[in-house]
Amino acid sequence: MFLFICKRALLALLLLIAVNAVTFALFFAINSPEQMAQHQLGDKYRNQAATTEWLKTRGYDKPLFFNAEQSGFAKLTDTLFYKKSIPLLVFDFGRSDQGIDIAAAVKERAGPSLAIQLPTLIVGVLVEITFAILICLWRYRWQEKASLVSLIFLMSISGLFYIIFGQYLFSIIFKWFPISGYQDGWDVIRFVALPVIIGVLAGASGNIRWYRTLFLEEIEKDYVRTARAKGLSKRAAFFKHVLPNAMIPILTGIVAIVPSLFLGSLLMESFFAIPGLGSFAIDGIQNQDFAIVRAMVYLGAALYLLGLFLTDISYSIADPRVRL
């Protein structure tokens, strides 16, 4: 296990460096540091002195990847890439180009994102598994066909429609929830209830179909047939044998996405004015704030790798056949 963790950590480090390098290359292929500076300083009354000062203050006056003016190792270390990348490896995000402490902003905004994402995940999984089981129990009946047709119909609807229709129905017509906003304390329930309901509804159809497939795959295995032949009832075979085995890919799939819940959802947070992390990276791109963009891309990649790592661990725990 220890060796596995060490190997994965080393691989993750190399991947993170690669992700950072690609982000760097892509961002600066579109924007030069001078253009970033001019964008930040505004279109009116622009002047070269201010641009130069802006670049110097934020360290963008150095070459991107290779400094020909330096000698030896400094040719690589006295560059924008090196100076901006090394602190990232220890999660030192520094300050945004507009002067905001990125770590403080991430810390502050992760909470509201989690307040929506976590309940959506938990309630969503419960609802999805329940419906998937029901559909399995309705096998070859008209209810199964009706459910599958309905699910395909619901899957075809855009997520945006769920949000707008949900806001219209629950906030404008029924007037049950605030249409957008966020408050601290227990009041938060009033504000996250609607996004959670909509989040669950919007994501359910696809997952129900997937879970149903997993259950059916398990049902058709030999050991289930044997259990049924030995006289075990359909229901007992399902809940005692099929469900625990089918839950392995479901749970490991959930573990994989748990870390990225911190990053929030752009659409949901934008429409419900939730002060989460969902729009942080987009804001950074729109404002051409490279510090935010690279920090968020790096954080996203790190959390994704963490998710994959946790999946491997959880596999080994859930399935004794798997050895790391």
Binding site: Q40, A49, S171, W176, P178, I179, S180, Y182, A273, S279
Partner: protein, 681 residues
């Protein structure tokens, strides 16, 4: 069982008391709070750095700038704010002798500013660093001087640095000295007090003066902006303390108030809260307007006015003057909530949770009706809710133009002018305003917006593009454009020398979305009328700006928001000395005309006189004669307001208007309750 039933009834009745969809804390219901929204997070709240409209909507209400705009008087004029009166302006020649304002030999102008004696900062822990019992202190002339010094420090990235650098005496020299000091100790906080800026002098704690090279009439307007607000010298030392920056506690995040409101909460991805500054001086609502004085309110003069605009302004002013001489600010707290999407914003406005709203293009046709006389009215549903409409023309100019250095479409040759005139006739701006702006714009016959001294007379029009038929302006027929094309040497849009058809390259950053596509198709169609092919080159804003910088652009659309109510600010974007390609200035068209430049210089250096107004109009005539702009308009705006909000009196330039506003929180709470009863099956 009985107890459970009683509890249920109690809970239901408690629920009935307040709307469930109220987005604000329950304890705020019925409070004297204004609820408004912002769509974009402010980048800067440091008065030396901030230059965005959204940011000034906050900052202008936080700082006591020396001057402000008079809320009611028109044409727009400045009035004292933190200053006890308007600045005393004196003019001096090279030999240091006083001269008249009209003199040709003015070498220096001195603006002497006398501050009020009752200016205090908000309570702030920085004032307690030396004396723990101290929470505030008096605002002094040193604080105003200190802030101007900050504008000259390149570290502060002041957006109007180039405006001031050649105007305030000693500004450039100060910059150089401070730059050297920064380089000597790059990581350390630099106390600007130790360096002299020769153009700033202090007589005592309430008197300071700004010394200007030559003249700078626009200074009076810049003195109304946050750039010239006071900043306590202790602030930068306080915020430079270790640990504060890591918590985002900086001067750029939490400005220090000397004005009517203080920023008590800054959470820019959620909301920002302004609360009454308890130390704000005793300021009263103005008692004099354009049509009325407070004592004349009994005489209804509005009905004698014929002009509809004047009548509307008059009615608004009359209502506003009912607050005359009352102590400001009226509202205790202002909550700015972040709303990035128009759907929830509009829904909340209709539910009564926002006091004021604009009208998004999606809702326009449903809620706004255009009357036969061209005026606007709102739908019956909105009227029943007590919502009122307010419309005004913004002091901005949006224009379509060719790069004046373009070999085919640019320049002042007769050929090029006729070619541009032909295109201007074909370019149906009225249709553009109807299709893409819901009619929210006024076709510009000159370049100086309405309400600014020097605007072209009401009956003036561009006779090349329009003709007057039955007293109404009508765009000339397309045949006239073809005739001009022929005279220019391009019959039917074909170059008679080369035999090639004309082609125009339109560079734009707005070519991606579905709405943009419709706009591009429309622009193409305008050129197609003259058999000219338009090639749209979609690009990023950065690349577009780069193309404008090096004049490698042919046709483009741009705009200018006036900084202050002086035509000089608008004329400057066409002046040769401000050409982008040669002087990195704001003249993106790179228009060059010696006669125009001479008039611009005259306008720039002289105080407002009838001769100056004539010069402004003459300059506009030159622009028209050279057909510098293919099409231009002044955008107009619409606001909807609930009946508990007032007074309705927009100001095109003032940003510190929160203090003039009132809300009726009881009426609002009642209406919210009536409009938001939850549906309980």
């Amino acid at each position: 069982m009985k107890k459970s039933l009683l509890l249920l009834v109690f809970l239901l009745s408690a629920c009935d008391e307040k709307p469930w969809n109220n987005p604000y804390p329950d304890h705020e219901r019925g409070s004297n709070i204004l609820y408004t929204a912002f769509t974009e997070q402010p980048r800067h709240l440091d008065p030396a750095k901030s230059y965005m409209e959204d940011e000034w909507a906050l900052l202008a209400n936080i700082f006591a700038t020396p001057l402000q705009y008079d809320y009611l008087k028109r044409p727009v004029q400045v009035a004292p704010f933190a200053a006890s009166g308007l600045p005393k302006v004196t003019y001096w020649d090279e030999q240091g002798r006083p001269v008249a304002a009209s003199s040709e030999h003015i070498a220096k102008t001195i603006y002497e500013i006398t501050l009020r004696d009752d200016l205090y900062y908000q309570n702030h822990p920085m004032f307690g660093l030396l004396d723990p019992n101290k929470q505030t202190r008096k605002v002094t002339a040193d604080d105003y001087i200190y802030q101007i010094k900050r504008l000259a420090d390149l570290k502060n990235e002041c957006p109007i640095y180039t405006v001031l650098q050649n105007k305030i005496i000693g500004f450039n020299e100060f910059t150089k000295v401070v730059k050297k000091a920064h380089e000597a100790a790059p990581e350390q906080h630099l106390d600007l007090r130790q360096f002299e800026l020769s153009g700033l002098t202090k007589k005592d704690d309430t008197h300071y003066a700004i010394h200007i090279k030559g003249t700078f009439p626009a200074l009076q307007y810049w003195l109304t902006t946050p750039f010239f607000a006071p900043l306590p010298e202790e602030a930068e030392v306080y915020y430079a303390q270790p640990g504060l920056m890591e918590k985002n506690i900086t001067l750029d995040f939490l400005p220090i108030s000397s004005g009517p409101y203080q920023l008590t909460e800054n959470n820019p991805h959620r909301h920002m809260v302004l609360e009454r500054n308890p130390h704000f001086f005793d300021e009263r609502f103005p008692s004099e307007g354009q049509y009325y004085q407070a004592k004349d309110l009994s005489q209804d003069r509005c009905h004698v006015l014929i002009n509809l605009d004047e009548k509307t302004h008059c009615e608004q002013e009359k209502k506003a003057l009912s607050f005359a001489n009352q102590k400001m600010p009226f509202i205790d707290k202002v909550v700015f909530s972040l709303e990035t999407e128009s759907v929830p914003f509009w829904a909340k406005f209709l539910q009564g949770y926002y006091d004021r709203s604009g009208v998004a293009a999606d809702n326009f046709d449903a809620v706004i009706h255009i009357q036969e006389d061209g005026s606007l009215s709102i739908s019956d549903e909105l009227k029943q809710q007590g919502i009122r409409l307010h419309q005004w023309v913004e002091p901005n100019l949006y224009y379509f133009a060719f790069n004046y250095r373009d070999p085919v479409y640019g320049g002042s040759s007769e050929r090029a002018i006729k070619l541009r005139q032909a295109i201007a006739i074909a370019f149906d701006l009225e249709e553009y305003l109807t299709l893409f702006r819901n009619g929210r714009g006024l076709v510009a016959q000159g370049v100086v917006p309405p309400g600014i001294a020097g605007e072209m007379p009401d009956d003036f029009y561009d006779a090349v593009v329009y003709e007057k038929i039955d007293g109404r302006l009508k765009r000339r027929p397309i045949q006239d454009a073809f005739q001009l094309l022929k005279e220019a040497g391009y019959p039917n849009g074909v170059d008679e020398k080369s035999g090639k058809s004309l082609k125009v390259y339109f560079d734009t950053a707005a070519a991606g979305g579905p709405d943009d596509q419709a706009l591009m198709d429309w622009v193409r169609a305008q050129f197609k009328k003259l058999n000219i092919e338009l090639v749209v080159r979609g690009t990023t804003t950065n690349v577009l700006m780069q193309k404008l910088d090096d004049a490698s652009i042919q046709f483009f659309v741009f705009g200018w928001n006036m900084d202050y109510p002086d035509a000089e600010n608008m004329l400057g974007i066409f002046a040769g000395m401000n050409a982008k390609v040669t002087a990195q200035g704001e003249n993106l068209i790179n228009y060059m005309n010696d006669d125009y430049d001479a008039l611009f210089k005259e306008v720039s250096n002289k105080p407002q006189t009838p001769a100056r107004i004539k010069a402004i109009q003459a300059a506009q005539n030159i622009l028209l004669k050279d057909k510098v702009l293919i099409a231009a308009f002044y955008p107009s705006n619409i606001a909807l307001m609930h009946d508990w909000y007032g007074p309705i009196r927009s100001h095109e330039f003032a940003n510190n208007t929160l203090k003039y506003l009132k809300v009726d929180p009881v009426l609002r709470a009642d209406q919210e309750k009536a409009w938001n009863a939850p549906w309980l099956f």
